[in-house]
Amino acid sequence: MDSNAPALTVRDLTVAYRDEPVLWDIDLTVPAGILMGIVGPNGAGKTTFIQTILGLVDAAAGDVRIFGASYEEQRYRVGYVPQRGSVDWDFPTNALDVVLMGLYGQLGWFRRPGATEREAARAALDKVGMAEYADRQISQLSGGQQQRVFLARALVQDADLYFMDEPFQGVDATTERAIIDLLRELRERGCTVVVVHHDLQTVPEYFDHVMLLNVRRIASGPVEEVFTDENLRLTYGGRVGFLRRRQDAPVPPDPVPHNES
């Protein structure tokens, strides 16, 4: 295995639901050790893109490499945070138990989580500021707290590459702060994090790289190079001005879609 390999390489990825292309011919390289945001309008295929990389959705064509090898070989190096709305939070279980689920893959068949696993799960909850809620029934947590439980579940996976689907969706300011601090800490440790994001205003502040996606990859690369008004217009259609504060980061002069170098 090549230790200098990019965290993620996607080549010619195409996904279709009944003839309708959801993702079209996507190429993407994500260098290791960065925070990357994926932005695009609703229905642009952001969730599908992540789920295809994780083998949850079948691709019609294309190739995905994680640290230079296939996902099946590298599964244990990948952590995943699905959208919070994708599960029933009235399920009879508590926060600690949900976090423990992150270890089910490593535990193997028929083995129950023991003291070591509990310890790891508690530590992960502590990392996201949820230690005191370990025994709380999950329906009694606020949306932000539920999101942090999901993050803790990914943290116990102790991965090198994380995929997070809208972790900032509908969370309170405290949680948003906690998540961004966590993302930066992960980057310090050399982890790579790919985040589906919806708030264009915070992209320059939160992320090193960004991919603009709308069925096709409009642009991807360092935020200061590709997060341009022109590219945003190409991604979201004409009316993008109000999506972005003008005083944010000076707009680079590059008017053409930036191709990955």
């Binding site: 994780l54 949850l56 599964r75 990948v78 029933d88 009879p92 279980t93 689920m101 535990l107």
Partner: protein, 376 residues
Amino acid sequence: MELLHDLLTNYTLRTVALGAATLGIVGGGLGSYAVLRGQSLLGDAISHAALPGIALAFLLTGSKDPAVLMLGAAGAGVVATLAILGVTETTRVKYDSALALMLSVFFGLGLVLLTYIQRHAGASQAGLDAFLFGQAAALVERDVIIMALLGGIALLAMVLCWKEFKLLAFDRTFGASLGLPMRALDIVLTTLLVIAIVIGLQTVGVVLMSAVIIAPAAAARQWTDRLGWMVGLAALFGALSGAGGAMVSASMANMPTGPTIVLCMGAVVTFSLLGAPNRGLLWQWWRDRRNARRLRRETVLVDLYALALKHGDMQYAHDESALDAMLAWSGGVHVALERLEDDGLVTRTNGHRWRLTDAGVQQAQALADDLHLSLR
């Protein structure tokens, strides 16, 4: 007492009660997963679909051996489940429509086959239609042993794959991202559900069997927030209603066993929906009332405080009707004031006028600060 004595001495009653308890345990335990996964109706479809399987098994073998008929029922249940999945995945028919479709088509086919059997297959045919509403009295020891054996295997499999099934029920996508074979787990769990249903058909019948899957689990969910407790409680409720229903129907003339068991389960569900702590309706009603009263007391206290501030005198006493007016005559002011008086926060001066005590002033100030009210 007499019933208990019968239970120990009467072979038939003991067999039926044991059989009903067994199907209750298995149905309750595995039904918990069906309920949590939103698959209650799948249980109904599987049990209805079992009817043609039973009829076909009889037509093919000429045997009325319960083991043979159960095998037929299970086969048809699995075929129906696959058909539902197939229709959902390959056409634009939605899941609930596919369920209803398979349920009625299989059940209709079952009725047609039953009629055919009654017309053509000699004298020994009678009795198959007992599978419609169940015929518990016909249970013999061997049937109960088969039920216990199959049910035991199903429950054992459930315990072995506990964490995998939990993940399947809670977050299937995440489970798949961990590399667990979620589709295979789904098939195994659904097969276990088929077993739980099939072993109850002879006793409860295809029409009512889904209640055994849904009711104990729905009741158990009311009492606990832990999956393990829920499954255990559902099994307990299933066992108690099963055995209880069997005994009630035995102690009265012309009480059909299957429906009586289902009625017992209905009673457990009703009681749980109303009376369970936290989730029960009575509990919620009481909590809402308590909260409303506390809120009313706090409002009255802050209102008194606001009035006192206006008059620049914390000792200033006000008429009750002034407070009533501030709350737009929405009621409850008098009760609130009396409770506040009990707590030593307000005090009565000459009849109907009220003023804050020192403790009341402090508390009202704290409340106003909490709410960021600017009263000055």
